[in-house]
């Protein structure tokens, strides 16, 4: 049923609708889909979303229990990761707290300074809150801070 | 477009009356009109609809009597009343009208009918409902008989079918019991008096019926004994026998049943067989299973061999219904699996298959394509 992709990538892109639609065409839009594809698209558009769901897998009893067990194990694994992270954060907070307490004891002046409200100071764009994953745009290359302009 | 933006929403009603000056400002023009006669639709004043309560707090009402006429449900229907299509509230039980508030819907007013004069509404949430029976007793015997025999249309139309089923049931019962009687007399040489024989036959028929719906034979025996003792107890309750008689009869028949059970038992297919002890049954089961496995498993069986297997499976008193079914599906399946040796024959000439070989088109998993193979006739149990 499925033919292997033998045509080169560039020619496939050229023939796909996405590229052609970018070029402005005056007059009635001409679809480049074949008649049979159009028919299928029309038929699908008339069906409700629930009918377009993939067919439900008919698993045997053994495989259903296997599936349930895999889900159970995955939940357990995720819970353990979460617990580890939580513990780590707790430790970090505790260590920060201890350091600040230490600072309070040794140099109250520095402690005051460290805790002073910094008014008018915005969060610099260069800095990011630490996250698990990089942002979609990793770095703003043409950025220059305001006060240097 | 620009005009609408300038004038704003206020200009929408009489756009035709607007004049736009050269500077773009808008002036309204009033034409000289004078209404001479009144309008046609301004005279529809209807008479009062006579709404309001028709029965008041504490009044006695009969079923169907209207309590309240209203537009919309100003007052909601409470206990023992109903609401009509035009929100008319009417009583469905005879009793005394009560207007009240319900703690479950604090913003609603309710009207209900309390069945007794001293009862208030709503009835407390956890106390039993007060209900009226309302059906009068038929004292005239002929009238009562007629009413009792009266059938609903559904019951009436089902009568022929019911009679047929009853007839079939009775026929089965008489056939099976006569078979039982025959077996007791000739096969087991039991000499019983008339009453004992009757009891024994009823008991065996009870057991047969219970086993037929899937009850284990031992449970069925207990149930059959219980059925008999229960019936005996009811004869005592009806004062047909005395309490002493009941006890003596009970003891006698319990002993009789145990002696009967030690000689005769009912098989799952409804025939009387000699009693087999549980250990013996187990060993027999193992022996037959072993024979089946060693001689008849994993090969194509001929018609004769199938019959042999069937007779082994149906050895009296050894396997119950479920076990028989399992053994049948294992050793004499309707179509022998492909994995059995010699059940698949490779053929080269599809047009002229060898004698006694049936052509079958199958899907080959490995090659992912259809393939034509031959299968011996014996592979298919129900094919002539």
């Amino acid at each position: 049923m499925f033919k292997p992709f033998t045509t080169p990538v560039s020619s496939r892109l050229a023939s796909s609708g996405a590229v052609i639609l970018k070029n402005f065409v005056r007059g009635k839009r001409q679809s480049n889909q074949s008649a049979s594809t159009k028919k299928v698209v029309n038929q699908l558009s008339a069906l409700s979303a629930s009918r377009k769901q993939p067919k439900l897998l008919n698993l045997c009893n053994e495989d259903l229990i296997k599936h349930k067990t895999i889900v159970n194990a995955w939940n357990l694994f995720k819970r353990k990761v979460q617990q580890r992270k939580h513990l780590q954060l707790k430790k970090q907070y505790k260590s920060i707290y201890n350091a600040m307490e230490d600072l309070k004891q040794t140099s109250p002046k520095l402690f005051e300074l460290a805790n002073a409200q910094q008014e008018g100071k915005r969060f610099p764009l260069e800095m990011r809150i630490p996250t698990d994953y990089p942002p979609t745009q990793p770095w703003v290359y043409n950025y220059s801070p305001k006060n240097k302009q | 477009m620009s005009l609408f933006r300038k004038v704003g929403i206020s200009c929408y009603p009489n756009i035709s009356n607007l004049q736009v000056t050269s500077l773009g400002a808008v002036n309204q023009v009033r034409n000289a009109t004078k209404k001479v006669s009144g309008s046609k639709t301004n005279k529809n004043d209807s008479a009062g609809r006579r709404l309001g309560p028709k029965a008041h707090e504490g009044n006695f009402v009969k079923p169907g009597q209207i309590i309240m006429r209203q537009r919309g449900s100003k007052i909601h229907p409470g206990e023992n009343v109903k609401i009509g299509i035009d929100h008319t509230i009417y009583a469905v039980e005879p009793g005394y009208v009560r207007f009240y508030h319900d703690p479950f819907h604090p913003l609603r007013k309710y009207v209900g009918v309390s069945l007794k004069k001293d009862l208030n509404l709503p009835t407390p949430h956890f106390s039993p409902r007060v209900r009226r029976f309302g059906y009068e007793l038929l004292t005239e015997p002929s009238e009562a008989k007629k009413e009792e025999d009266h059938m609903s249309r559904k019951e009436y139309t089902y009568q022929p079918k019911l009679e047929e089923a009853l007839k079939a049931e009775n026929e089965l019962k008489s056939r099976i019991t006569s078979e039982f009687e025959d077996a007791l007399r000739n096969k087991f040489k039991l000499v019983l008096n008339q009453e004992d024989l009757k009891v024994a036959l009823t008991r065996f028929y009870d057991i047969f019926q219970l086993v037929k719906i899937g009850k284990p034979v031992e449970d069925a025996k207990i149930q059959a004994t219980y059925n008999f003792i229960h019936d005996l107890k009811l004869t005592e309750r009806r004062a047909e026998i005395s309490a002493d008689e009941f006890l003596s009869k009970k003891a006698y028949f319990e002993k009789f049943f145990s002696s009967l059970d030690s000689q005769v038992t009912v098989d799952v297919d409804g025939s009387l067989i000699a009693y087999i002890a549980e250990e013996e049954r187990q060993s027999e089961r193992q022996r037959i299973s072993k024979t089946l496995h060693s001689t008849y498993s994993n090969r194509v069986l001929s018609v004769k061999e199938r019959k042999e297997v069937e007779s082994l499976i149906c050895t009296p008193g050894v396997f119950d219904l479920l076990q028989r079914y399992q053994l049948r599906t294992k050793y004499t399946p309707s179509v022998v699996p492909f994995s059995v040796p010699d059940s698949v024959i490779e053929i080269t000439d599809v047009k002229n298959p060898p004698e006694g070989v049936i052509i079958q088109k199958i899907f080959d998993e490995a090659a992912r394509s259809t393939r034509i193979v031959g299968r011996p006739r014996e592979v298919f149990a129900f094919r002539k």
């Binding site: 045997c60 | 009413e147 037929k212 207990i222 399946p333």
Partner: protein, 384 residues
């Protein structure tokens, strides 16, 4: 041509060699039955092989009975490898739980105060549930084998059965109790604690032989003998609890007041039951019935046109042994009975009956005389 649709796998490998190759070498806590009960095992060896190791591609999954469907079955990709990892992970977690249980058991041996003992026992039960609740064999047993054959002394089975009960049967029961107004017509309300199931074992027709769904309308012949009652506790019962069971009919016509009265149809008291021994069946009634029964069973026999009547079965947990005097059948006050004897309702069941052609037969059997006949149309006379 079913064979053509299903895949053919011509035997190339020996089945025995297959199962040998796929036996796992790991031996964790879930495969060790020296300390754990054997009832946590999956009994069928074929299903166990398919569940814990790999489904034999030549045989197909053992849980599918049809040969052709079995052959046509394909497991999802990589499910066995993933399952193996998942099983190991969950088993390790269970091992931790069993170690904790060891510690608790040691503490239980040294514990002195009853409060501490109770706490420790509760904790051990909870840990036993946690250790086994994800065991695939246990899950398979609860989901796909006969629930009545499960070992209810295992906390994990009780836990899973309770979840199953709450998800369906309990909801059905509570709906029927409320919608048929058994609550509050008999007792104010119910906090359900046990699963109550009822069946009539004397029935030889399949449609009436099974457990009764709450609220079903049954004919008189189907209820003509005492029911089998199963009371499944989900909490641990160490020594046997005592139970009382009453069956009442709150719809007996009371012509004097033109209302209804309650009749006691059946009464059992001081029935000792626990998690495993949880059923009052024919054999128990036969051997000990007279000890438990304080009111003999009398089925509901609704008279013609007396409408549908409800048979309300209440199960009470007793705090101590009861000594009941003679209790009248007529005008039975169930609320008074429960409060006087210090009974707490833990479960209930209901079925309904109306006049049918077998009522007269049952009336005669119980010596109840001719039934009254009421007018078909309801009158308007008020409640007295």
């Amino acid at each position: 041509m079913l064979q053509a649709k299903s895949g053919v796998r011509i035997a190339t490998r020996n089945v025995a060699s297959f199962s040998k190759r796929f036996q796992s070498t790991s031996s964790g806590i879930w495969t060790d039955f020296s300390k754990r009960s054997a009832s946590l095992k999956l009994n069928s060896p074929e299903v166990k092989q398919g569940l814990l190791h790999k489904i034999n591609p030549e045989e197909g999954p053992a849980s599918i009975s049809d040969y052709n469907r079995r052959l046509a079955y394909h497991s999802p990709e990589d499910i066995d490898e993933t399952f193996k990892q998942a099983y190991e992970l969950l088993q390790q977690e269970a091992e931790v739980k069993y170690k904790e249980i060891e510690g608790y058991k040691k503490r239980l041996g040294e514990a002195k105060s009853t409060k501490e003992v109770e706490f420790l026992k509760k904790s051990i039960d909870k840990l036993l549930v946690d250790a086994e609740v994800k065991n695939p064999e246990v899950l398979y047993n609860v989901e796909y084998t006969d629930v009545e054959l499960l070992d209810k002394s295992q906390p994990v089975y009780r836990h899973l059965l309770k979840e199953k009960w709450e998800a369906y049967d309990l909801m059905i029961t509570m709906q029927r109790l409320e919608q048929l107004h058994m609550i509050p017509d008999t007792l104010p309300t119910l906090d359900p604690k046990v699963d109550v199931k009822v069946k009539f074992p004397h029935n030889v027709k399949e449609e009436f032989a099974d457990w009764v769904v709450p609220g079903t309308v049954l004919p008189a012949f189907a209820v003509s003998q005492p029911p089998t009652i199963q009371i499944q506790e989900f909490e641990t019962v160490e020594e046997k609890n005592l139970y009382s069971i009453v069956l009442v009919n709150p719809d007996t016509p009371d012509l004097k007041t033109n209302s209804y009265s309650t009749t006691l149809q059946y009464g059992l008291a001081n029935v000792p039951l626990d998690n495993v021994d949880n059923v009052i069946d024919t054999s128990k009634l036969f051997s000990q019935g007279e000890k438990f029964t304080f009111k003999d069973y009398q089925p509901l026999v609704p008279e013609k046109n007396a409408q549908t009547q409800r048979a309300c079965l209440w199960v009470f947990r007793q705090s101590e042994e009861l000594t009941l005097g003679d209790i009248a059948r007529e005008n039975f006050d169930i609320r008074d009975f429960a409060s006087k004897n210090n009974l707490t309702a833990v479960g209930a069941h209901i079925w309904r009956q109306r006049f049918d052609r077998s009522v007269n037969y049952v009336r005669n059997k119980y010596g109840l005389g001719e039934g009254r006949v009421f007018r078909r149309v309801r009158g308007t006379a008020p409640v007295v």
